[in-house]
Symmetry: C2
Subunit: 170 residues, 2 copies
């Protein structure tokens, strides 16, 4: 087995800084999927306590956060009312998430994450580093580089919680 | 109050790619400190269950991980035996961490994090983007860009756990 590639560097198909960012997002995603590999539906639905989010809900959350930042950065608009309603349980988690994000196998969450990510990578491949770092029109205190760093950062934050929760599953 | 700066971009005093990385590390650190603000020693020592790490131990862990990557990337050597022994409880956590990383106020952990970070930033300011992305001599499958991304990534992972644990403190 070849040693893992532990490098952040420009990647073919992306402008230089976008490529480095994609390397970070991909590493984060790889470790997220490793953290949930092999979990059953019951394990994905398990609630550690009454205030806890399930691992499945946290996976749905990561996909929904990514969809929001696709709207903001690629389409330069906030999510529509219909999108906000469709993503609310995954974005807000809590009671709504516990009620609605259940009874799905791992493949359901992984497919959603993968579909969303495919669109992100295609859109990033079409853009350049100037786009990445200029102030965003709909949020001038933010640039797309921060936005996509934040998508990865939120995913890693919840991966930490997922690892903690997984270690306590029966 | 001015809106928060949500941009990743080159920073004065650093080469361009190092500056972007420093922006990410600084954002991660800012959110880590916000996650623990105001905690008492008893809260920092609290163990959620018998397998749990305390919040204080997780803070000590972040500082120790950063020290290891300082050795690897700035000094191009693994930690010495004396360093490994001194940092073992914080690096390994678990039983050793629960036994030894206790009874310190928040200021103790914040001062350690701040001291370690000051050295990181000074060393990064002395280097350039070529250094950042070339293969590391002591680990050719790794570059310093990944190493420092990983320091931030590990910190964010544990920040997720800290937020989870803090929400359950009395």
């Amino acid at each position: 087995m070849s040693p893992p590639n532990l490098r952040i560097e420009p990647l073919p198909g992306y402008s230089a800084t976008i490529g480095r960012l994609v390397g970070m997002l991909s590493y984060a995603r790889q470790t997220l999927l490793a953290a949930v590999a092999g979990l059953t539906t019951a394990q994905l639905d398990h609630l550690q306590d009454e205030a806890s989010n399930s691992i499945g809900a946290l996976l749905a959350h990561s996909a929904a956060v990514e969809r929001v930042y696709q709207c903001l950065t690629f389409e330069e608009r906030p999510p529509s009312d219909a999108e906000s309603a469709a993503w609310a349980a995954a974005l807000e988690l809590g009671d709504k998430g516990r009620a609605l994000l259940r009874e799905q196998p791992l493949e359901h969450y992984v497919e959603e994450l993968t579909t969303v990510r495919r669109h992100t990578l295609a859109e990033l491949a079409r853009r350049d580093d100037t786009w990445l770092e200029q102030p965003m029109k709909i949020a001038p205190n933010m640039n797309a580089h921060w936005a996509w760093f934040h998508v990865g950062e939120d995913e890693i934050n919840h991966r930490g919680q997922i690892r903690w929760l997984r270690a306590r599953l029966r």
